[in-house]
C-alpha cells in the first residue's frame, strides 16, 4: 500500500493538470474580485458616492478578504476544475494502460482505489487551501481583511474542505466507473450543475403537491445536496446546527461515493 501511495503521489506531483487548473482557478478568482471592486468604485464615483455611499455599499455586501476566503470553495468554477483534474488523474492509468502493470503485479483493485483516493484527496485539500488563500489575499487587497475570524470560522473552513472531498470522491467514482476520460469528465462537469436543478424541481413538485403550499418546506430534498449545504455555510457567521448538518451530509456523500467506487472497481476488468 505504501508503494502504491508513493507511486500515486509521484504522479500527482508531476501532473500538469492540477497546476493548470490551480492557475485558472486563481486567475478567475482574482479577476472576479477586482472586477467587483472596479464596479463598486465606478458606481460610487458615478453617483458621487451618494447612492451606495449612503448605504455604505461596500459594507452592505460584506465584501472583504474573509468573505472571499469563506466563499472560495462554493464557486461553480471549482467543481468544474475539480472534475477536470481529478478525472484526468484517475482515468490516466486506465487510458494509458498503466493500470495493467499495477494489477498484474498483484496489487488489489481495492488498494489501487484507496491509494488513488487518498492521494487525490490530498491534492483536493491543497487546491481548496490555495483557493481560500487567493480569495483572502485578493479580497483583502481590494476591500480590506474584514472581521469575524474565530474558532468557528476555522471549523467552517474545515467542513468546506469536507465538501470538496465529497466532490472529489464523486469524480473518482466516475473515473473508475467509466475508465475513459471523456465520459467521466463530461458527467463530472454536468452532474454538479444539473443535479441541484433537478432537486429544486423535485422541491417545487413537493410544494405544489402539498395541501398547504405556503407552509410547505422549500428545501425538502435540496437540504440534502452538497451544493446547497456548501452555499449555506459559505458565510462568515454560520449557525452551529447548519455546520454540523452540513458536515454530516458531506461525510455521508464521501462514504457513499467510496463504497460505490469500491464496488465498481472490484469487478472491473482492466
Amino acid at each position: 500500500m505504501r508503494q502504491l501511495i508513493a507511486f500515486e503521489y509521484r504522479k500527482l506531483i508531476r501532473s500538469k493538470a492540477i497546476y493548470i487548473c490551480m492557475i485558472v482557478m486563481a486567475a478567475l478568482s482574482i479577476a472576479g474580485i477586482f472586477i467587483t471592486k472596479a464596479s463598486m468604485d465606478f458606481i460610487n464615483s458615478s453617483f458621487g458616492g451618494s447612492m451606495i455611499g449612503d448605504l455604505d455599499g461596500v459594507d452592505m455586501f460584506n465584501y472583504s478578504g474573509l468573505k472571499y476566503l469563506v466563499s472560495a470553495c462554493s464557486s461553480s468554477n471549482i467543481t468544474i476544475l475539480f472534475a477536470i483534474f481529478v478525472t484526468i488523474f484517475v482515468c490516466g492509468d486506465f487510458t494509458e494502460g498503466t493500470i495493467k502493470n499495477i494489477v498484474a503485479r498483484g496489487f488489489s483493485r481495492e488498494k489501487v482505489f484507496f491509494a488513488k483516493s487518498m492521494v487525490i484527496c490530498t491534492g483536493t485539500i491543497v487546491f481548496g487551501l490555495v483557493a481560500m488563500l487567493v480569495g483572502f489575499v485578493s479580497g483583502t487587497i481590494a476591500f480590506g481583511a474584514g472581521t469575524g475570524f474565530d474558532g468557528e470560522f476555522v471549523l467552517n473552513l474545515l467542513v468546506q474542505l469536507l465538501a470538496l472531498i465529497a466532490y472529489t470522491m464523486m469524480n473518482v467514482l466516475l473515473g473508475v466507473l467509466f475508465g475513459k476520460l471523456g465520459g467521466a469528465l463530461t458527467l463530472g462537469i454536468i452532474i454538479p450543475l444539473v443535479f441541484p436543478l433537478l432537486i429544486q424541481l423535485l422541491d417545487l413538485a413537493v410544494m405544489l403537491m402539498s395541501d398547504k403550499p405556503a407552509e410547505a418546506t422549500q428545501d425538502f430534498f435540496s437540504r440534502f445536496t452538497i451544493s446547497s449545504n456548501l452555499s449555506k455555510i459559505s458565510a462568515i457567521s454560520v449557525d452551529g446546527t447548519d455546520l454540523v448538518f452540513a458536515a454530516v451530509i458531506f461525510a455521508v456523500y464521501i462514504l457513499l461515493f467510496t463504497l460505490l467506487g469500491i464496488l465498481s472497481i472490484r469487478r472491473k476488468e482492466v
Binding site: 507511486f7 509521484r10 508531476r14 498503466t98 476488468e269
Partner: protein
C-alpha cells in the same frame, strides 16, 4: 508433474459468446510456452485472466500450485496488448515510476534500458516514441523486479527485424541464464518457433493441442529434396531399391521430392552416386510450426 502455471477448465464468456472454452494449460518452470492461434482465438483473454486483469466465468488458474487471487506476491512481468506506459514521461522516468511502485532500487533502470535498446533516448517523451520503441519500453517494464514468469502478448509487434531478433535473444537469454518462464503469443509463427519449447494451439477459445517443440518436430512431415542430373533414372533407382515406395517420390524439374526420414538421405545419396548420377544438392526440409498449425486448423474445418 508440477506446473508453475496451470489452468483448469478455464472459461470466459462475453455475453453469450464463449471466448475461452474449458482450457487446460500446463506450463512447466523454464518453459517458453508459445500460445498460437488466429486473431480472436482467445489468446489475449487467457493471458489477461492469468494476470487477473480479467475474471474467468468459471475454471481456475494456478500459479506455483496455488490458485491466483489477484493479490498474489508472485513476481509476474507482462506486456498485454498495447504497452502500459506514461506517454508524458521519458523511458527512464517510466521505469523510475514503476520502480517506486514495485519497491525496487532504481539502479536496475540503466541496465534494463541497455538490454531493450532504449539507453540513448534521453529526455524524449514516450509519447513521441515509435511503435517499436514503445514496445521495447513495455518489455523493459515487464523485466523490472526480476519476474519469475513473464507473459508477453505479441511482443514483437511493430519491431523491425533487428528488434525482433533482440527480443528473441533476450527471451532466450533470460530463460537460459535466469530460468525465467515465458508465455508468449505471436502470429509470427516461424519467429516464435526459434525460441519456443512448448506450444499451445488455440482455436475459437478451445485449446486444440499442447505439445513440446521436439514433439512437433517429430510429428511433422520431412522431405528430402535432391537435385540430380537424371531425375527419372534416379526415381526408378530409389524405388527399385526398395528403400522408398514409389508414391513417396515426386519429380519436379531436375529435383526429386522424397517423403522419408532424414536418416535415409545418406543412403539415397550413395545409391545415386554409385550409379553415376550426379547429385548437385541435397536438402532436408521439415514441416515448420506454421505448416503444422495450418494442418491443425485445417483439421478443425
Amino acid at each position: 508433474m508440477d506446473y508453475i502455471l496451470e489452468t483448469r477448465q478455464l472459461t470466459k464468456k462475453f455475453g453469450n459468446k464463449l471466448a475461452v472454452d474449458h482450457v487446460d494449460m500446463h506450463i512447466r518452470k523454464g518453459d517458453i510456452y508459445g500460445l498460437i492461434g488466429k486473431n480472436g482465438a482467445g489468446k489475449t483473454t487467457i493471458m489477461r485472466m492469468m494476470l487477473s486483469l480479467a475474471f474467468p466465468t468459471s475454471g481456475e488458474i494456478y500459479m506455483f500450485g496455488k490458485p491466483i487471487t489477484g493479490t498474489s506476491d508472485v513476481k509476474v512481468g507482462s506486456l498485454i496488448e498495447a504497452p502500459g506506459i506514461f506517454k508524458s514521461y521519458s523511458a527512464y522516468d517510466n521505469l523510475k515510476a514503476f520502480c517506486v511502485l514495485y519497491g525496487i532500487d532504481d539502479a536496475v533502470i540503466e541496465p534494463i534500458l541497455r538490454i531493450v535498446g532504449l539507453a540513448d533516448t534521453g529526455k524524449k517523451k514516450a509519447g513521441q516514441f515509435s511503435l517499436g520503441m514503445k514496445q521495447r519500453l513495455g518489455i523493459a517494464i515487464a523485466l523490472l523486479a526480476e519476474p519469475e514468469i513473464i507473459i508477453l502478448d505479441e511482443p514483437v509487434n511493430g519491431l523491425d527485424p533487428a528488434g525482433i531478433k533482440d527480443v528473441r535473444d533476450l527471451v532466450i537469454k533470460l530463460n537460459q541464464e535466469k530460468g525465467v518462464t515465458f508465455v508468449i503469443s505471436s502470429h509470427l509463427l516461424d519467429e516464435l518457433s526459434k525460441m519456443v519449447t512448448k506450444y499451445g494451439i488455440i482455436n475459437n477459445g478451445c485449446l486444440l493441442e499442447e505439445l513440446d517443440a521436439a514433439e512437433l518436430e517429430r510429428r511433422g512431415s520431412h522431405q528430402i529434396v535432391i537435385t540430380v542430373s537424371d531425375p527419372l533414372k534416379s526415381a526408378n533407382l530409389l524405388s527399385g531399391s526398395g528403400m522408398i515406395p514409389p508414391q513417396n517420390i515426386c519429380i519436379a524439374g531436375n529435383q526429386l521430392l522424397i517423403n522419408a526420414n532424414f536418416q535415409d538421405s545418406a543412403r539415397f545419396n550413395k545409391l545415386l552416386v554409385d550409379n553415376d548420377i550426379w547429385v548437385s544438392s541435397l536438402e532436408l526440409k521439415s514441416e515448420g510450426v506454421e505448416q503444422y498449425y495450418m494442418h491443425a486448423m485445417g483439421d478443425m474445418r
